[in-house]
Symmetry: C3
C-alpha cells in the first residue's frame, strides 16, 4: 500500500516548528499498520530535523550553534542576492537535510519518547513551505 | 512485503560501534530479495552513520573533528542539565542523523566495499540504545 | 512494485555534478506512479545532496564553506595515506550523507522548483562512482 499527501505551512521566520502531530495524523489516516513514513520539504532554505522535544533550550542552543557555524553575511559568500541569510539558509539545509524517514508501527508514527519532528525555517522572513508525507507498508 | 524488527545495544560511552553484521543478518532473515533497508535509532543523543570500515583512524579522526566542531562545555549552551556532553550529543546527532536507508539486493544489504554501518554514541556514559530495522521490497 | 538499477559516473575531481535528469529518467522507466525514489552512492568519499539548482554560485559557496570547515591537510588527521584530501573527503561525506529519498508523483521525481540532485565528489582526483536508484510504490 502507498499513501501520499502534500501539506503546507506558514513559517514566521528563522526558527523551528514542531510538526510531529501533523505528520502522525496523516500516518494514522493512511490505514497502514507497519511500514515507513517519509517526510519531504520542497525547498532548499528550510529543512527537517528529529530533535529533543522536551526542553526548548535545546532548539535555541541549536539555533545559536548554527548561527555561529554558518554566519549570516560571511564575506566568503558570493550568492547574496536575497540578503545575508540567503546562502547560510542553503548551507544549513544541506547540513540538516530535506528528507526524513521514520518507522510506522501499530498504525502510527513510531518515534522515541524524546524525539520530535521539526521544520526548521532558515530564512529571517516567514515563508509558505510545502511538504509531502508518503507512507508505505501494509 | 514488509519486515520490521527492533533490537537493542548497550554502548560503552562516546564512540562508534560497527553494526553492519547485525543489520545484514536481520535483512537476510526478512526473505526480501530486492528493496530497501531502513535503520532508525530512537534517541536524540546517538546517531547512525555510514563510514569507511577498514582503518580505525578514520573513526578516531572523525571523533576528534566532531569534538572540536561541537566542544563539550561550550559556554554557548544553556541546555546543560545532564552535563557538558548533553547539548553536544544533540547537535552531533542532528549533524549525523538518526535515520539511514540502504539498498537490499539478492537478499542482503548492498553496501560499497568500504562502507560500514556505525552506531555513534555521543554521550560519555554508556547507554542502552533501541533501534529498528524495516525492510521493504519483494 | 519495486524497481532497482545501478549506474556509474566518472567524476572530474572535487566538485558537484547535477544528476537530476539521470535519476528522473530511471524513475520514469520504472512504471511506478506514486511512491518513493531512493538514491544511494556506494562510497565514503563522495556524497549526495539536494541543493539550489539555479545559481552556480550556491555550489561554489558551499565548496568554499566545506573547504574551510574541513580543511585539507588539517594536522588533526592521522588517516592521511591517500593524501591531504583523504580524511576531509570522509568527513564531508558523513556531513552530507550517502543516501537520499525523494517522492515520486505522477510517474516522475517530485522535487521543488529549485531543488536539484547533486553527486558531490570530495576527492581532488576524479573517480568512477557507482550509484543505485530504487523506486518503490504503485
Amino acid at each position: 500500500m502507498i499513501f501520499q499527501q502534500q501539506f503546507s505551512l506558514q513559517t514566521q521566520g528563522r526558527g523551528t516548528i514542531n510538526i510531529t502531530r501533523e505528520v502522525d495524523s496523516l500516518v494514522r489516516s493512511s490505514d497502514i499498520t507497519t511500514g515507513l513514513c517519509h517526510l519531504f520539504i520542497y525547498h532548499t532554505s528550510a529543512s527537517l530535523m528529529l530533535c529533543e522535544n522536551a526542553d526548548p533550550d535545546v532548539r535555541s542552543d541549536l539555533e545559536r550553534f548554527f548561527s555561529r557555524l554558518v554566519p549570516d553575511g560571511d564575506p566568503l559568500f558570493q550568492h547574496v542576492d536575497e540578503g545575508v541569510d540567503d546562502m547560510p539558509a542553503h548551507i544549513r539545509s544541506v547540513l540538516t537535510k530535506m528528507d526524513l524517514t521514520m518507522p510506522v508501527t501499530n498504525g502510527s508514527l513510531d518515534l522515541g519518547a524524546w524525539q520530535g519532528i521539526y521544520l526548521w525555517e532558515h530564512r529571517h522572513r516567514g515563508h509558505q513551505r510545502k511538504l509531502a508525507v508518503t507512507v508505505t507498508g501494509e
